[in-house]
Amino acid sequence: MRDFPLFPEQASTFANQVDQLYFFLVALSLIFAGVLPFVILYLIVRYHRSQKVDRSNPVDSNLKLELTWTLIPLALVMLVFFWGAFLYVQMRTPPARTLDVYVIGKQWMWHVQHPNGKRENNELHVPIGQPVKLIMTSQDVIHSFYIPAFRIKQDVLPGRYTIMWFEATKPGEYHLFCAEYCGTEHSLMIGRVVALPLADYERWLATPGPVVLPDGTIDTGQAIVAPSIGDPMAAAGARLFTNLGCLGCHAMAGGGVGPSLQGLYGATEKLADGSTVVADENYLRESILNPNAKIVAGYAAVMPSYQGQISEDQLNQLIAYIKSLADTGN
């Protein structure tokens, strides 16, 4: 009961910008909601039936007045719309270079894996001053990843990736909430976001710890094999790529049954039906689970679906691997 905050902490680059717009809206509201009641109060007292005042020539319409109170609010809402829209586009568009972190939501916990393989449950460690991109999916129902101190949230859906990005500005520990109702322990699907200076973050990344798995258990075997932090995601993905036989068709040099995946991520692919698609995480995901949905021009629809054969966790690793090939291509 000691704490009695009335305003949330500002800990990301968005926080101050969102708050400025918020305060502008509060100020506008005070002009309306603060002045209008006094106008009404004045009118109902002055024109109360017990008051002997001039009531002659009552008016019941006035076009100029109607236009005034139509156009001024219209101008004001357009102002806040465009202000909000520009900020919104910025909040929804990750910069080109980001630190990618993979998040899996499930009833009722968050699992996080960093590119170097480090895993954590119900916690997210991030460096400050670095744009961080979360690539999120759910194993069951819809969840929502919400960090109030960063003023950002994004629903996490089963069957697809959703993307959220932010740049933390202040070291500290912040609430992490699930904001979309997801069943019995919805209110316990919480955790903390730990923002650290870059050096501390890197030290934390490299610190060996128990390897927690998405189901909440601790992988003792892997902890012994790799006492540091587990395999980097791209390396684990490369191993999967070989073990699942992907390499048989997707030869690195090209010329295979399927297209080479070098330089694929982020590129624009031409499809058999003449349309194009940007190869983002969701495209890669779809092409693994439902390969016939989009066929690259010049190739046959022969790839089998891997739906049900690989976990979300493995899918993340495969995608991290394919993304790592982007820098090697071209």
């Binding site: 024109y47 001039d54 003023r151 109702y181």
Partner: protein
């Protein structure tokens, strides 16, 4: 004007000799006024039930830990509160009770166009309600009133199918009421009652009816498909079965956003009547208020995506929905300004219905303005799915619809029952509700901006003080809702005889006796003037006749 006894014959009296006959005469009635009374009783029953569930929720939230009940029980309590209040109280409240009673009276007709259909819609409402109650009694449902998939369609272990069936059936009741109103308003207006002579309450119900018949079927389809997926495993919403979870949200909000206007438009209609009557003046800007209802009804269909800014809907879709949402603010603002302007040079009295009307304006302004916060995309990313949203929609739905519902009940109570309620208790209750409401929901705006997510059973301790304040306000609010039940019930026996037109109001409903005869008017009225035909000197005359001791 005033008589000393109730009229010899009215829609309430009948010649039944036995109790069974009397019961039949009510349960098989096709009189729109009796059906309105059936709705009044059943809707208020559901309101109390929903209020009970809200009490459980608010009491649990006094402490940050989950100590009163388990998470499963808490989730069922807030779902029950939401489902009952939205589908079985707010949506039918004003149209089914006041609309049913008043639409034929206000347009000088003897009944609605399809009286039997009207009775059927009450039965459908009751059957839907019984399904929802059975679902609640036998284990409850834990999906939230929004029934989001795939949680609802696949993962929830509760009485989903039963509850959804209840809402599905209730939907038909709503459609039939809308259909009936549209046909009635088009075809059964008294001679001379042109569109621009209609009371604004009729305009508002007309706009509402359009939404009811166009949007409700979409809700029905969306919910039926949830059942299809849940029972037969057909992949519609669950990606594990090949479905799309966002499809449900699109279909659901295509109904449920306009549904907010099903709640608020008739409320605005009531407020227009009250403000005009208790200012003794023609309503200011009649055409602007009338067309703003229609504008809200149309724009309301195009903003559903503003519930989905963080759902993974595309950025461009978000921007378009945000833009149209901003436009909805304008007709709402126009109404508020016109009501305020009506007060100017009026002769204002502070009777209970007027207190509710003024309270409505205050709460609706806050509800509307915070709606702009939520419609602005960048701010919504932070506050959506938090208590900010909870506070906002309670300001609009409770602060708006319930204030107007209660104001309307008090205003037309003498017409419905022939008797006056106790004015002093009426004013006290209105004041308690206004204060209690603000104490309950204002702290929730602060909670929401702090980041407190909605539907949380357990919450971080720093939010406790605001939650305690909110619960304290809710207790006051609960008292405010109980007091009218008592004095209104007492007035049925002890209230002063009202007479035909106790408020000195214009409008056809005041030209017949209170309570009205079964067929409303002895002779079909011929209308030669508009609904707010107060002569220019009406306000002056009213003020001149005021003496100390006259009602305030």
């Amino acid at each position: 004007m005033s008589t000393i006894s109730l009229p010899q014959s009215s829609y309430i009296r009948d010649n039944s000799r036995t109790f069974i006959d009397w019961l039949k005469s009510w349960l098989l009635t096709v009189d729109h006024k009796r059906i309105a009374i059936l709705y009044l009783l059943s809707i208020n029953f559901f309101f109390l039930l929903g209020g009970l569930a809200a009490t459980l929720v608010r009491v649990e939230l006094i402490t940050p830990q989950g100590d009163l009940m388990s998470s499963d029980v808490y989730n069922r309590a807030f779902t029950l509160h939401g489902v009952i209040m939205v589908f079985f109280f707010l949506i039918p409240s004003i149209p089914a009770v006041l609309g049913n009673f008043l639409v034929p009276l206000m347009i000088g007709a003897r009944d609605l166009a399809f009286p039997r259909l009207n009775l059927l819609s009450w039965y459908l409402y009751m059957i839907g309600g019984i399904f929802a109650l059975i679902a609640a009694v036998f284990g409850g449902v834990d999906t939230g009133w929004t029934f989001y998939t795939p949680f609802t369609s696949t993962y929830s272990n509760s009485n989903v199918v039963m509850s959804i069936t209840g809402v599905f059936i209730m939907g038909f009741s709503s459609i039939l009421t809308g259909l009936n109103f549209i046909a009635t308003i088009h075809k059964m207006r008294a001679p001379g009652l042109t569109w621009f002579r209609l009371p604004l309450f009729i305009w508002a119900n007309y706009a509402t009816s359009i939404i009811q018949i166009l949007a409700t079927p979409v809700l029905g389809i969306a919910l039926l498909l949830v059942i299809v997926e849940r029972v037969w495993g057909v992949g519609i919403y669950d990606p594990a079965l090949g479905g799309d979870p966002l499809l449900f949200q699109h279909l659901f909000w295509f109904y449920s956003h306009p549904a907010v206007y099903i709640m608020i438009l008739p409320a605005m209609g009531v407020i227009s009547e009250l403000i005009s009557t208790f200012s003794r003046k023609r309503i200011f800007g009649y055409e602007f208020i009338a067309f703003s209802s229609i504008a809200i009804a149309i724009l309301g269909f195009l903003v559903w995506g503003h519930h989905m800014f963080v759902s993974s809907q595309s950025v461009y879709a978000g921007l378009i929905f945000s833009f149209i949402t901003m436009l909805v603010a304008i007709p709402s603002a126009i109404k508020v300004f016109n009501w305020t302007a009506t007060l100017y040079k009026g002769s204002i009295s502070y009777r209970t219905p007027m207190l509710y009307a003024l309270g409505f304006i205050g709460l609706f302004v806050i509800g509307g303005l915070t709606g702009i916060f939520l419609g602005v995309t960048a701010v919504d990313l932070h506050v959506t799915d938090t208590y900010f949203v909870v506070a906002h929609f309670h300001y609009v739905m409770v602060g708006g619809t319930i204030m107007a519902y209660l104001g309307g009940i008090h205003f037309w109570w003498p017409k419905m029952t022939g008797r006056m309620y106790n004015e002093i208790w009426g004013s006290i209750a209105a004041l308690i509700i206004f204060v209690g409401f603000n104490m309950t929901f204002f702290p929730q705006f602060i909670l929401g901006y702090l980041g407190m997510p909605r539907r949380y059973h357990v919450y971080p301790p720093e939010f406790q003080i605001l939650h305690v304040m909110s619960t304290a306000g809710a207790s006051i609010l609960a008292i405010g809702f109980i007091v009218p039940l008592i004095y209104l019930a007492i007035s049925l026996r002890k209230g002063a005889i009202a007479g035909d037109n106790p408020w000195g109001a214009t409008g056809l409903e005041w030209k017949t006796s209170s309570p009205p005869p079964t067929f409303n008017f002895d002779k079909t009225p011929i209308v030669t003037e508009e609904a707010y035909a107060y002569p220019p000197e009406a306000a002056e005359r009213d003020a001149a006749s005021w003496r100390p001791g006259s009602p305030l």
